[in-house]
């Protein structure tokens, strides 16, 4: 009996601690210090060849942040104002200070997203997106979160990855495949951001392991 217990504990420890990933506290130190609550999502920077990717992807960014406990500025209204302020092209101020923008909108942080890749291969019926997410403080200009998601949606095969299959199934099938893959990329990549103030886990996830900077996944549907 005692032996069994030891085995059980050893297995438990081994499975939970096997990869020596740094903690979230160490990886996202600036974010834990600043505790941002409100986020302004800037229009995505589109470096892919897919022209309409920008507007369509933009509307998918608010939901995952709210589910993590953050406040996101009303997306449709914010987009109107950003256009009025000639801030539709976020690439222009990628390296500028965000403090003034922060004061104008009354936000703690701004989110830059860069669509590096948005391609469809007809042969393997795959869609691949590679998106970078960078949350920048509107108080100190520090980088609070910077992650890259590289997600391929395969329409023909099963991934063999239970977790990926589960997430693939979570996203509604009524959406077009191209938007499904963008949303999957959000779920994977933003899943690692520490909990925000509206979450019951706020301030309690610092010792959890942080995922690597670049996420790569293949999902099926």
């Amino acid at each position: 009996m005692k032996k069994l217990l030891y085995i059980f504990i050893v297995v438990l420890v081994a499975t939970s601690c096997a990869p020596t990933l740094p903690t979230k506290m160490a990886t996202y130190k600036n974010l834990y210090e600043e505790k941002p609550l409100s986020i302004l999502v800037l229009p995505p920077i589109n470096r892919s060849t897919k022209v309409e990717a920008k507007e369509l992807f933009y509307s998918s960014l608010a939901v995952p942040f709210t589910l993590k406990g953050y406040y996101v500025m009303p997306p449709l209204l914010a987009m109107e104002i950003l256009k009025e302020e000639s801030a539709y092209d976020a690439e222009m101020f990628l390296n500028s200070s965000m403090i003034q923008v922060g004061e104008l909108f009354g936000v703690d942080a701004v989110l830059f997203t860069t669509i590096h890749e948005w391609t469809k291969t007809a042969i393997a019926s795959q869609i691949r997106v590679k998106i970078e997410y960078m949350l920048k403080s509107a108080k100190t200009d520090q980088i609070l979160f910077n992650r890259i998601g590289d997600v391929t949606l395969s329409t023909s095969m099963n991934t063999g990855n239970v977790f990926a299959d589960l997430i693939g199934g979570m996203v509604s099938t009524a959406l077009t495949q191209e938007i499904v893959v963008g949303r999957n990329c959000n779920i994977y990549t933003l899943g690692d951001i520490p909990a925000g103030k509206y979450s019951p886990n706020f301030g309690q996830d610092g010792q959890e392991p942080a995922q690597p900077k670049e996420f790569k996944a293949t999902v099926s549907r």
Partner: protein, 113 residues
């Protein structure tokens, strides 16, 4: 000993399997806002309004309040449609639910004074 083992297993099972409700239930928002951004057609607008109404009147989720941005975006949509009073009311509601939106939303409200 056996009892201890059982407690350990039960404890592990409880922490591993407790399904937590998401903070908000976004209902059909994803599809509705996607269709609205893509086409902007009459039908996509009325469908988005239907979703907004559900999100406000029957919020659900563990917080059971309208999710961030919903009241403000809906309010602004109504203002554009000419329903100024109801629209403004919703914008104010956003600032009550989420005080961190006040700086931004008040600037919008000023335009319709």
């Amino acid at each position: 000993m056996r009892k201890f083992f059982l407690i350990l297993v039960l404890g592990f099972a409880a922490t591993a399997c407790s399904v937590t409700k998401p903070l908000y239930d976004w209902k059909g928002y994803d599809q509705a806002v996607y269709a609205y951004t893509k086409s902007g057609s009459e039908q996509s607008v009325s469908n988005l309004i239907k979703v907004y109404t559900k999100l406000i009147e029957n919020s659900g989720g563990s917080r059971n309040v309208p999710p961030p941005g919903v009241c403000a975006d809906y309010g602004y949509l109504l203002i554009q449609k000419g329903e100024i009073a109801k629209g403004k009311e919703l914008l104010v509601k956003e600032t009550v639910l989420y005080p961190e939106s006040k700086v931004f939303v008040d600037r919008i409200l000023k335009r319709f004074e």
